[in-house]
């Protein structure tokens, strides 16, 4: 038995060294921070490689993925805004149209088991088909995108590096996009440094953290700051009358429920809520304090008080905001490896 172990170890080393030849030294593959929970993504069917990641990134920022070659994934998911559409309540679509929802952040998706505000998509690999083929968003068909990529001189080589074959297919395109998105891990905010024992909160931040644990953590569960659930937070339906997850499940209990968004990078991801109706953190917090609309299926958490909501004094709000800003991860939003212009040596 020992002999087998020695032989297989040697083999593994040989393979590892063989792989290393093609890799540049500064590509750090996916790792799970020690204080994060287990990932949800199926890495066993899509292992991240530098070639796959780089192809995914190239595709992410390539406007060829839209019908009129005007719009890339990165158009509405801008890295410096934690991959949201900076300053837009609803994201833009083709030809000056508007979509119906606020572009969600792309970060820590390996820990997410559903995608979109309504959770209608259950696998990250299937997610990009939706914006690419949505007539308002990118208006393409997958097979036409594949045909366009085949005409580009550089993509054959990129697919070869990513998957060992020059063949360009829809499923490989999607797997590569997943690899890029999975690498968008945000875990270097001040909060993370505190968790790692490298620094401490200021007294105000600490007070805000205490309030957070008491009043927010039930849904925006640390360290991901979402529990991936769907809840009706008593937002008055807008003129769009977006029924949220109800459209997916057709269950009355899901009426007007939306996915709990992560609070990480909160400053960079304004405006807030599924329709971007609040432009400031203060306005978002004031919603919970005084504006929760009493609907039949608002989340039970809001019913702990006589008037539904979560009471927050002005002082508490200030402290909470001080804490929430410790979730801003500057190294994530400025990470050159995730930006459009970085390429491996």
């Amino acid at each position: 038995m020992k002999k087998y172990i020695v032989i297989s170890s040697v083999l593994i080393f040989m393979i590892a060294f063989a792989c290393r030849k093609d890799q540049t030294s500064h590509f750090n593959s996916f790792t799970t921070p020690s204080y994060f929970p287990a990932t949800s993504y199926h890495f066993e069917t899509n292992q991240i490689t530098e070639g796959g990641f780089y192809l995914g990134k190239k595709l992410f920022y390539d406007s060829l993925l839209s019908i009129d070659n005007s719009t890339s994934c990165g158009t509405c998911h801008i890295p410096t805004s934690a991959f949201t559409h900076h300053g837009h309540d609803l994201s833009h679509g083709l030809n000056g149209t508007l979509t119906k929802r606020n572009s969600p952040a792309i970060m820590n998706l390996a820990w997410s088991n559903s995608f979109m505000w309504d959770g209608g998509i259950h696998d990250l690999d299937l997610q990009p088909i939706s914006p690419i083929t949505n007539p308002i968003e990118m208006g393409e068909t997958m097979d036409h995108v594949v045909a366009k990529l085949k005409q580009q001189p550089n993509y054959k080589n990129l697919f070869l590096k990513a998957f060992g074959t020059e063949e360009i297919t829809g499923d490989k395109l999607l797997k590569a996009l997943s690899q890029f998105m999975l690498m968008c891990v945000s875990n270097n905010a001040k909060y993370d440094s505190v968790k790692r024992g490298q620094t401490q909160f200021t007294p105000t931040e600490q007070a805000g953290y205490n309030i957070f644990l008491q009043k927010c953590n039930a849904c925006h569960n640390e360290p991901l700051f979402t529990d991936n659930s769907f809840r009706n937070t008593g937002l008055k339906p807008s003129i769009l009358n977006d029924s949220g997850r109800y459209k997916i499940t057709l269950n009355d209990r899901d009426m007007f429920t939306f996915k709990v968004p992560s609070l990480r990078n909160i400053t960079y991801t304004a405006p807030y809520m599924h329709d971007g109706r609040f432009y400031s953190l203060d306005a978002a917090l004031e919603h919970y304090n005084s504006q929760v609309m009493n609907m039949p299926n608002i989340d039970p958490i809001f019913r702990r008080e006589t008037i539904p909501g979560i009471r927050l004094s002005a002082d508490e709000k200030n402290k909470l905001i001080a804490f929430l800003k410790t979730l801003d991860d500057r190294s994530f939003v400025t990470n050159p490896m995730l930006g459009e212009n970085y390429s491996p040596r």
């Binding site: 088991n113 559903s114 259950h122 949505n134 797997k175 499940t249 057709l250």
Partner: protein, 259 residues
Amino acid sequence: MKYFIVLAFLSVLCSCHKQDAHVKTGGMEISFVNNAGSQKITLGNTQYINSSGETFTIGTLKYYISNIVITKTTGEKYIVPQDSCYFLIDESNASSLKPRLNIPQGNYSSLSFMVGVDSLRNTKDLSQRTGVLDPTNTAADMYWTWNSGYIFFKVEGNSAASLQTDKSYRFHIGLFGGYSSGTINNTRIVSINLSQKGNAIISSGKTSHININADILKIFNGTHVISIANSSVIMATANSADVADNYATLFSHASTINE
């Protein structure tokens, strides 16, 4: 290491089993003929009349057939393997209307299949969604991108009874029961007794042709009466289950021709 050796043995055993030379196989072709009443349908401008007296045309007709099981007169069942049991019947594509299978020889007196795509396949990894199940290609217009899942049955056309401005009607029926929280399940199992019109006798080197009629008019009244005036668009809505109940009633055995 031990486990690896056990696994290696098992996989050798399994592969032997698959290629078992003792079980001879023959061909089976299930031919779907889409009718309106007793008349074969024509896509385009031909007018048909449903049970509510509404005239309508059929522009598109596509549906998935999967999970085929055939049963011998002895009661022994043969389950068509997962990697070859998904078919997209598309009226506009003649070659899609006659799924061909390779099955162990014998005398088969009943056939069952699912209309739709089961929940397991609906949640499989992308790499296992090939051919008619590839959402980036052949299945692109039979797949909901926003509510991950296949459209099981699609029929579209025009009708003067439609309240839509373009006088269209569109039924896109999917929903496999949901991934993380339950939805309605519109897959339906259809069982067909072959014994009255002819068992399928499968023998090596030959093909048995089973002819199945699908009466599309029953989409409007198989179990529930659906009128285009009341419901000209049925997609991921509660009443999609009524259409599913109806498509479970479309199929009947016309004849079997054994070579």
